[in-house]
Symmetry: C2
Subunit: 143 residues, 2 copies
Amino acid sequence: MDQRVSLITLGVGDLAASTAFYERLGWRRSLQSNEAVTFFDLGGSVLGLFGADALKEDAGLADTADATGFRGVTVAQNQRSKAEVDAVLKAAEEAGARIAKPAEDVFWGGYSGYFADPDGHLWEIAFNPFWPIDDEGRITLAD
Amino acid sequence: MDQRVSLITLGVGDLAASTAFYERLGWRRSLQSNEAVTFFDLGGSVLGLFGADALKEDAGLADTADATGFRGVTVAQNQRSKAEVDAVLKAAEEAGARIAKPAEDVFWGGYSGYFADPDGHLWEIAFNPFWPIDDEGRITLAD
């Protein structure tokens, strides 16, 4: 597994209010934001704001006991193909991670799964065909 | 406030065990790690593993009701001077953030404070004289 982070997602209660807060700090949301998610380009990685309940469901925790320990924050590492997603999740499981959600095709056009590290921190491992990854592993939003 | 993240810190229950997990994934810890904290260079930013209780205390939450909502994760943005730390915390407060911990000199030789965003996500705003920030706002660990 490469040593990098593509996306930090903060779960929020009110997307418009949280987005407005970061905009008051001088941040500019990506044009790829929509009514369900706000993205901020961090220069190589991305910060996302996403409804906390939707984030919990996305991580496959909605109907499990693990939901009680949901932290409302996830980190993601994007891969260059579906096969790489499968390989990273397999490596994580072999290293002792719990697979929170096996990889699957997802509604936004990508392929994604989650593992939980020993403390329950959730890593999304994803292939996003709309977010190119450069040779240094950095994400560039096409704004 | 610049649009960037310097450090993501995951609170852990057993630092050695968590560090070993990431090493099994192929990650290499920075030489700046010590018995209390593990750092992984992410290429422009850093991932830290730090005891969850120590992290909570560092964020000034140990003796407050807010501790119940502690997520066990913080994000940090480093600044180039103590004055910049003060300015960012002031701007955050004016934008509606709650100051979780006013900036102060800290034991590791830096200067740091925390604010909580509208959902309670904690941002550490810090001046770390040992971690240079380049013109693009990226952190390079001197390994």
